[in-house]
């Protein structure tokens, strides 16, 4: 047998054994069933971490804003009062 006929024999169309497609689909489904809860758990964890970080950032920004306004208001009020007391 030459190479050409060997290749032809190897590459010729063959029917899969009975139930092959069902077995493949069943395996894929089982795999999906295992992966889905893990993926959901991972997504939930990411959301919790991002949410926690977001809340922390928000509180930090709010406190910074209060602090900035506190310092600014005190300086303006102090200057105003000093000007008033001099002009009296």
């Amino acid at each position: 047998m030459n190479i050409e006929s060997e290749l032809k024999a190897l590459l010729q169309r063959r029917e899969p054994p009975p139930g092959f497609a069902d077995r493949v689909l069943a395996r894929l489904e089982a795999r999906h069933r295992r992966i889905l809860p893990r993926a959901l758990a991972a997504a939930a964890l990411v959301l919790v971490i991002l949410g926690g970080w977001g809340v922390g950032e928000t509180l930090h920004a709010r406190n910074e804003l209060r602090l900035a306004m506190r310092i600014t208001a005190a300086k303006v009020a102090q200057a105003q009062q000093q000007v008033r007391s001099v002009s009296r």
């Binding site: 928000t58 509180l59 920004a61 804003l65 209060r66 602090l67 310092i71 303006v76 200057a79 007391s85």
Partner: protein
């Protein structure tokens, strides 16, 4: 030609900042390290509005109204354990940026308390920017607010958020 281009590229952002009421405050890192207390707040437009959304107290509501219109709040404040612990050229650097668009509206010189200078950038009937320089031997505060500021409203916030009211009866020059 290249030098001119670089200088041009450096000047344009500064000029744009100056027109917007924003100033560049060059504070060396070593200053915060030597200070006994330091505050550096940088809140630009997006972050400012974001932070303002989470103000909930009654006192906060006035701040919320004011902050909603602003484009930025930048506060640098340092307290030191010894006199003259900071370089006065920091203040000179800020003053140098305040061109003809800025007006000095208040200058307070005090022997016993801090010296305060308040500059505003008028924009029609409103103020487009505010700079406060408050300096005493052991304290340095530089405030820059970008956007329409109501000074009276700002001063009225004193006494809120635990801000102590200024006591009367000090001696001034």
């Amino acid at each position: 030609m290249r030098r001119i281009l670089i200088a041009f590229l450096l000047i344009i952002p500064s000029a744009a900042w100056a027109q917007s009421g924003r100033i560049r405050v060059a504070i060396p890192d070593s200053l915060a390290a030597t200070a006994s207390e330091s505050v550096d707040v940088t809140l630009d437009g997006a972050m400012l509005r974001f932070a303002a959304r989470f103000l909930s107290d009654d006192a906060d509501r006035e701040v919320q109204d004011m902050v909603r219109k602003l484009d930025g709040i930048y506060v640098h404040s340092y307290e030191f354990d010894r006199d003259d612990a900071y370089d006065r050229s920091i203040l000179a650097g800020v003053r140098a940026q305040l061109g003809p668009a800025w007006q000095r509206i208040v200058t307070v010189k005090s022997k016993t308390r801090e010296n305060v200078e308040i500059y505003t950038m008028p924009n029609g009937k409103t103020i487009a920017g505010l700079v406060i320089l408050a300096a005493e031997p052991r304290e340095l505060t530089i405030v820059n607010i970008v956007g329409p500021v109501d000074l009276d409203k700002l001063a009225s916030l004193e006494g809120q958020f635990g801000i102590p009211r200024v006591m009367k009866g000090d001696h001034h020059e």
